[in-house]
Assembly symmetry: none
Homo-oligomer: 210 residues x 4
Amino acid sequence: MPKTANFEPISATGDSVRHRGSSNTKALLVRAARSRFARFGYSATKVRDVAADAGVNIALINRYFHSKEGLFEACLSRAAEDVDGPAEAYDDMGIEGLVERLLETTLDFTDGEMPLQLLLLQQSSGDAIADEIRRKTLAKIAQRLAIASGWDESNPNKGEIQLRSQLALSVALGVVWSRVSMGMEPLSTASVEELKVPLRQVFKSLLAIG
Amino acid sequence: MPKTANFEPISATGDSVRHRGSSNTKALLVRAARSRFARFGYSATKVRDVAADAGVNIALINRYFHSKEGLFEACLSRAAEDVDGPAEAYDDMGIEGLVERLLETTLDFTDGEMPLQLLLLQQSSGDAIADEIRRKTLAKIAQRLAIASGWDESNPNKGEIQLRSQLALSVALGVVWSRVSMGMEPLSTASVEELKVPLRQVFKSLLAIG
Amino acid sequence: MPKTANFEPISATGDSVRHRGSSNTKALLVRAARSRFARFGYSATKVRDVAADAGVNIALINRYFHSKEGLFEACLSRAAEDVDGPAEAYDDMGIEGLVERLLETTLDFTDGEMPLQLLLLQQSSGDAIADEIRRKTLAKIAQRLAIASGWDESNPNKGEIQLRSQLALSVALGVVWSRVSMGMEPLSTASVEELKVPLRQVFKSLLAIG
Amino acid sequence: MPKTANFEPISATGDSVRHRGSSNTKALLVRAARSRFARFGYSATKVRDVAADAGVNIALINRYFHSKEGLFEACLSRAAEDVDGPAEAYDDMGIEGLVERLLETTLDFTDGEMPLQLLLLQQSSGDAIADEIRRKTLAKIAQRLAIASGWDESNPNKGEIQLRSQLALSVALGVVWSRVSMGMEPLSTASVEELKVPLRQVFKSLLAIG
DNA sequence: AATGAATGAGGTTTCATTCAT
DNA sequence: GATGAATGAAACCTCATTCAT
């Protein structure tokens, strides 16, 4: 007997009136999908559940995104955009600001969206296009960390800086996974302040090359 | 239309002799299954592919492990055992030895099995029993790190030590994922020596509480 | 993996003005629908494509024809009417005129609508009502051929005449199908004159009972 | 309310025991599928009904034929083979024998399979590969008729002979359709003898060029 | 009257599992 | 004990139809 537990529905909104407005529906679907994709992975996520979470009819997923993979790519693109946004902001923030920003992204002491994005980037659909987006987005994040921490084409240490930036990103991914996806206790429910101190030290030791 | 890439078969053994002895078959299946479960996740793994990798008939999976979830649990148990083995060894190794051991586990400069085990522990089947094994195994690993780094029921810092141990484990998981599963470059192909230096510093800063 | 080719849109009219007057819209829809129904069959025809061909909103199909089957029946009725029109004309045309008329219908050397009508009559929707219309329309055509070629309640050969009339109709259907639907070459692009000679002989041999 | 009548199941065999033997199952499926494809068309045919007709589980269709289109292509290939079989036999039969053979194919006074094959060749799935098979098979049949009736690269009438052969094939297709698919009465239930006379004359007038 | 969003039924396909040899 | 065929549940997707502006 198949047993794959069917994660309980997470109703996004209570009302179930028709005709919510199409621009809104897409956003609702992407949000619901990202949450499931990020936490349960691509193949364990059922489009029916995503539609139920968003409170819309299942056929709208295909109407707007053409397929389950299209929906996944839309989530990834959103993630890529969200990461793209503050690109320039990185440039002149210095190591101190960079580390604080990475802490914020990892520990999410604002609205709770960024960790889901990071989690999502760890999920593969097996589709080549989606995997390319994932890879590029992660590479871009790492590259920004590298640039902000002194990477330069002419820098003799550029190789090491790149490596350390990818390690820093890996740390962020690992911590987010342990907290959000695995729910490791007490890590998951520890206060942001408790975690900031050791993590800040880790990020500094990786990104601040003397 | 992107096609969901169907991961190519990976023959576990070169020979394809029939009737290879039923005791051996189980081990072949577990090894093949662990590889797929760890890399592609539970639901993206097809038992037919596992059987093909192991070179055995698909029905044997159900005969030996009763179900796909049974096979997954068997893989997890193996992982737990592998981790259980040197339990006592941790006790008296001190911070230095502990860090070196964690480096070894993470960077895998021996036989390449440990990273797969860690990766496997990140995969959920959605099954309550299997998830409980995962959770407990991860908790046990973290707890050992904590004990080896000074945790004690009477230690006033025991909370912080526990937290830092879980962070160290999270770092290991994140790095293994980036290297093995994502194949982040150049991190993935960097030499162990290159990575040891920054990672050692990270683990030390987390586990050595002054 | 072969992809089910999605027949390209065929704009029925060049202009795409809105609010083109509801009376005209029905005719546009019927013309577009007949073309698709006749060439691709009932179930392979998508109402969305018909609406696109006609340049009108898809919901109008249901407003005007109540359902896809209603639209199909409307097409059939048009076909029946087109065939009904010159009914009386048949009566006194003699075998010679009859054969010439059948040649014209089959080879369509005027406006190109008749072959579509014949093709349409070969398509079934699976709906009982529509199928009854089809059957009756075909029977009526055959009966006219019979009457024009000497059929009479009191004619001792009336059975054979009816049979031969149905064979003649079958020949017309088969030739139209080969030319228009299958596009059999060089039959499809042969000149009317080339085809008239052998076909005339066929029709005569069937309808002129010595 | 959608009404597309669901053609009643046609049980091929009464018993419903398991494990019929795989080689047999494929044949059962092809036979059941050909019948439905030929009579109702590709898209009106539901694989579930085909499986039910064959008395086997629906999943076996995908196991053996990979997809609905694969099943359709298998049916077409069978038709092509069936037509290929007696190829050489055509060569030395002369016009008389050729006409008799065409009569047999059309009127089917043996086992009732050939008309279904001809009907099947009139059905399109919209798939390019399948359509190519159809086209080639029909072309091959026509070409054989042409050769048997005197076609030759050096024959000055070769163009006309080809055209007349395609017309003869069209006649056969039309008659089969009227009888088998439409069930035109009394044509459909007329005795073979009644139909042979007029049809023989038609085929002769088309294929015997003086 | 006309439109675009939303719906629900039903079709094809996948895949873990079980049966008989 | 081992195998390949067969099964059934459930997933994704399509499409005719209806609602609300």
